[in-house]
């Protein structure tokens, strides 16, 4: 009896052990399959993510390729960048055209506290960049310091780290009396802020700064001149030539299709482009001369800008309205 019981128990033990082994084996196989499946999903996800990233980068290119299927060149372009003149470059352009000093049209450096959200602060950082570039042209030292302090405050509010964005500003007291040093400080501040924001996937914020700067610069240009005064012809032509940069700015904003703050400005800029459509730029190509020793290429060409008083006033009104949307809460 005991022997039978022992044999039954033994059989039961061996069977259950066998079942356990089978179960463990099945479990291992199942786990391996699951692991492989998960691995495949992960790799698939990574590849998809990668391709999504690439497609974001080359959003413009994809659109172009669709429009120009036959254009082999466009298909090969992986990345397109759009540059808009910086506040410093804009100031340099208007300086050469003979600008007048009208500080009352600027956005006061005292307004910093009025701007509390990130998109607004980024736009105003650009606005102050143009205001500072403008007052610098007329050697307004104290006003330059005030604008730089407001810029530093906005950099801090935007979490643009001390060593990246605003450390250059701390040198201002030492260098403010030197015009070139001020230019260097401004250039370093804005380029470091741009690099820092792009490094940290905040290219949209960097674009808001560029937008604010360009709008303020064009607003200043249109508000310091009278159309009928012949001496203003150069600066009025410069205003007309902003037609090209406006297109680049719109394309730059379009490269951030998911940013609502940036896209709020598209209808306004499209309206401005409508006014610019009436500005004619007739372009005559001439020879291109390259001097190897000087590492210099000169593009000889001629452009005639035709802009009438109505177009000028329309541009002035439209840019003022965009600018007011930026500076007013």
């Amino acid at each position: 009896m005991n022997l039978k019981l022992f044999i039954n128990f033994g059989t039961y033990f061996v069977t259950s052990l066998h079942k356990k082994i089978i179960f463990v084996e099945k479990f291992k196989t199942y786990m391996m399959k699951t692991y492989k499946f998960l691995l495949l999903i992960l790799i698939g996800g990574l590849l998809l993510g990668w391709s999504c990233n690439s497609s974001t980068d080359s959003n413009q290119i994809d659109n172009d390729s669709l429009n120009n299927v036959k254009n082999e060149h466009t298909k090969r372009v992986k990345k397109i960048f759009y540059n808009v003149p910086s506040p410093i470059e804009m100031a340099s352009i208007i300086q050469k055209s003979g600008a007048q000093y009208k500080p009352e049209i600027l956005n006061s450096y005292k307004n910093t506290d009025k701007y509390v959200n990130v998109p607004k602060q980024a736009l105003i950082l650009g606005v102050y960049g143009s205001d500072l570039s403008y007052v610098r042209l007329f050697d307004q030292i104290q006003l330059s310091i005030n604008y730089l302090s407001s810029i530093k405050k906005l950099c801090d509010e935007l979490n643009i780290s001390e060593d990246q964005g605003s450390i250059a500003i701390s040198r201002m007291e030492k260098n403010i009396d030197k015009r070139d040093s001020l230019l260097q400080i401004m250039s370093e501040t804005y380029s470091s802020a741009d690099a820092y924001l792009k490094e940290n996937d905040r290219g949209n914020t960097a674009t808001l700064i560029i937008l604010g700067g360009w709008v303020e610069a064009l607003y200043i240009c249109t508000n310091i001149v009278e159309f009928d005064i012949p001496q203003n012809k150069d600066i009025i032509n410069r205003i007309g030539e902003q037609k090209y940069s406006l297109n680049n700015l719109i394309e730059l904003i379009n490269s951030y299709p998911d940013d609502n703050e940036l896209h709020k400005f598209i209808p306004l800029l499209a309206e401005l482009r409508g006014k610019y459509d009436l500005v004619g730029i007739e372009y005559v190509k001439r020879e291109v001369v390259t001097e190897k020793e000087k590492k210099l290429t000169t593009i000889h060409s001629k452009a005639n800008v035709s802009i009438n008083k109505t177009s000028f006033e329309d541009i002035k009104t439209t840019i003022s309205s965009i600018r007011n949307k930026i500076v007013n809460n």
Binding site: L39, L42, K78, E89, S187, K198, E241, N248, Y283, T298
Partner: protein, 145 residues
């Protein structure tokens, strides 16, 4: 178990690689490229990307009359001789660095304001390999006051 751990580590590395490369690229521009643009004033807009061999990138910008410009194409050494051209909007070549020993920067002056395109091309590797060479490329624009 060891193998699973190994595989997981490899997957983790693969997944963070693109982000590491991108961050490296931006650091590269600031340290290696910007100082070389002097004495021109940098326009403050960072145009950098990780490109593979055979890739083309373009920068659209406006040259204003009477301004002096410097275009500097800065790239990591492993990419070899990076080509760059200055094109007008009709895609006519105004300058090609291949004609000047693949020089990395060149100065430009335009008598009239115009829209121009800087086109950059990464050469295809002459050695056939399964690994595609990739690296950072920055297109920098500077102007003189």
């Amino acid at each position: 178990m060891k193998r699973i751990f190994k595989k997981t580590a490899i997957i983790a590395l693969i997944s963070v690689f693109p982000y590491l490369t991108n961050a490296q690229c931006k650091g590269f521009t600031k340290k290696e490229c910007l100082p070389q643009l002097k004495p021109y004033v940098y326009n403050g807009q960072l145009n950098s990307a990780v490109l593979n061999e055979g890739d083309v990138a373009e920068l659209l910008l406006t040259f204003y009359s009477g301004q002096d410009y410097r275009i500097f194409v800065c790239s990591q050494e492993m990419l070899g001789n990076v080509e760059f051209k200055l094109l007008d909007t009709d895609k006519n070549t105004l300058f090609y660095n291949k004609d000047h020993d693949y020089v990395k920067f060149w100065d430009f002056k335009s008598n009239s304001t115009q829209q121009l395109i800087v086109q950059v091309r990464i050469p295809q590797s002459e050695v056939k390999s399964e690994i595609v060479q990739s690296g950072c490329v920055s297109i920098l624009a500077g102007f003189k006051e």
